[in-house]
Every structure is written in C-alpha cells, then in structure tokens.
C-alpha cells in the first residue's frame, strides 16, 4: 500500500525551478524516500524547488526536519525552497509550531514563481 509519494513536475525549466509534488504522509518512516528524491535533485544541480503540498495529509518532526535541511542546502547553493498550498492540517501543524515564520509559503504557483524572479 502506498503511503507517501514524491514526484517531479517541471514548473519553469528555463529558470531552473522544479516543482516537486508530495502526497500521503511525511513521517519518520517515509522521510527516507523524500531525502533520497531531493538528494538526487541537488546532485543534478537543482537549487530552486517548489514543494507542492496539496496532497500531503500529515507531517511530523522528521518531515519538518527534512524540509528544514533541504531549505538550508538549497540556500547554500544560491537557491531557495518554497512550500506551495499546504492542506489545512499541515498548515496548522507548521503554524502552531512557529514554522510558518521560517518557511516561505505560497498559495499559488504564480506566487511561487514570483519568489524566484525577485
């Protein structure tokens, strides 16, 4: 049974921005898949990622830590991480913990694109 999936969808290959869609739940169990996927992207030179969270139903500290680590690595390579449209529940979790102050959250792909143009 599938519990977590991560897949690439190019947003703007000219600008080097990759949209990555997550679905299912991101916890201590599934985070290894996420790490492997994003390692591969970084290894291929990607430094700008929009994480589409519309399909993500849950995130725990393991997942938040992975987002954190990814964000810091992208920044080190001159890029950035944008979180797109978290579900109400994932937004609530991030917000209650204070992570909405830390992450770059967007509500539309246009907004996400603009982040990387500025």
């Amino acid at each position: 049974m599938k519990t977590f999936e991560v897949e690439n969808r190019a947003l703007d290959s000219a600008a080097g921005v990759v949209v990555v869609g997550l679905s299912g739940y991101l916890d201590a169990h599934t985070v290894a898949d996420f790490d492997k996927h994003t390692d591969d992207l970084l290894g291929a030179g990607t430094n700008k990622i929009v994480l589409d969270l519309q399909g993500l139903s849950y995130i725990s500290s393991a997942g938040i830590g992975a987002l954190m680590g990814l964000s810091q690595r992208l920044k080190k390579h001159g890029g950035d991480l944008v979180l797109l449209q978290p579900t109400a529940k994932v937004y609530k979790i991030l917000d209650l913990l204070g992570f909405t102050r830390i992450f770059h959250l967007c509500t539309s792909e246009d907004e996400a694109r603009a982040v990387f143009q500025s």
Partner: protein
C-alpha cells in the same frame, strides 16, 4: 441513549517505523471519541508520533530482535493520559529540547524538535527512565471545557 464508559487500553507492537501511521490512526480515533477538538487531535497525533518515533529510533540497539513499543491509553472525565513505553536502553540522559523554533533552525544538528513538540502540544509531559529498564513518556491532555473553548475563540 447509551453513554460511553471511559476508555482504557494498551497497544503493543514491534518498534518499527512502519507502525507509526497505524498508531496515529488508533490514537486519533480513540481521542476523538473523548470529544477533543480537531486542533487538539492534531496535537495529540503529533505528540504520540514523536514519542513512538523516539522509541523506534533511539530505544533499542540496532541488532536487537525483540523491540516492543507499548502505548497505554487512559481516559477519565476531562482528561486523557497516553504513556509510551519501551524496554530499551533507557540511559540516554535526554539532551534538553530546543526552546524555540528559531533555536532549532540555528543549531547545526537538527535535534530536539520531538521533545519540543510534545512539551508544546500536551498539557503535561513526564519522562522517566532506568538504565536497562527502558523509557516511559507520560503525556496528559485535558479536555477544554466549553467555557475554556469560548475564551480561546477569536
């Protein structure tokens, strides 16, 4: 109509990452029967996940076969207690949780977020451990009274 009696049960399963999703499901189902708000259910779900993930990751030597993870659930009127128990090493001298998200972000090695979450989301969190006896994390959550809920509303 038939009223529910307070619920009390114990779950035991192998401390393997794959059980986390199932444990969350059982705990949320059980807590929701007690009348917790959706936000409180999120907080309970995450706190139990963190405590169990710690057992799975830290309690047992890598090569140990028997790795019990035990979750005890007790409800009394207005209060729910969940105790997460392992039979593992127990002598970890828990390195204090981070104090804020900003501290967590700035620290090089990202650790301590689990304990931060439990302490932030539950009303009481008690750790106890004995070398060779394993660890217990006892978390208490009080049901908001209707008036407390009103006070919390915008």
């Amino acid at each position: 109509m038939t009223e529910r009696r307070p619920l009390a049960f114990e779950l035991s399963c192998p401390a393997d990452k794959s059980v986390l999703c199932w444990v969350r499901g059982v705990v949320v189902q059980s807590a929701s029967e007690l009348g917790f708000s959706e936000e409180d259910l999120h907080k309970i779900e995450l706190s139990v996940d963190e405590a169990c993930a710690n057992v799975i990751e830290h309690a047992y030597p890598k090569d140990q076969d028997a790795r019990p993870l035990i979750i005890r659930f007790e409800a009394e009127p207005g209060v729910m207690r969940i105790t997460v128990i392992d039979r593992g090493v127990g002598d970890h001298g828990r390195p204090g949780a981070v104090k804020s998200v900003e501290e967590y972000v700035n620290v090089q090695r990202h650790r301590g977020l689990g304990t931060f979450i439990m302490q932030r989301f539950m009303d009481e969190v008690e750790f106890s451990q004995e070398p060779g006896e394993g660890t217990r994390v006892r978390m208490t959550k009080f049901l908001a009274t209707p008036s407390a809920q009103l006070e919390g509303a915008p």
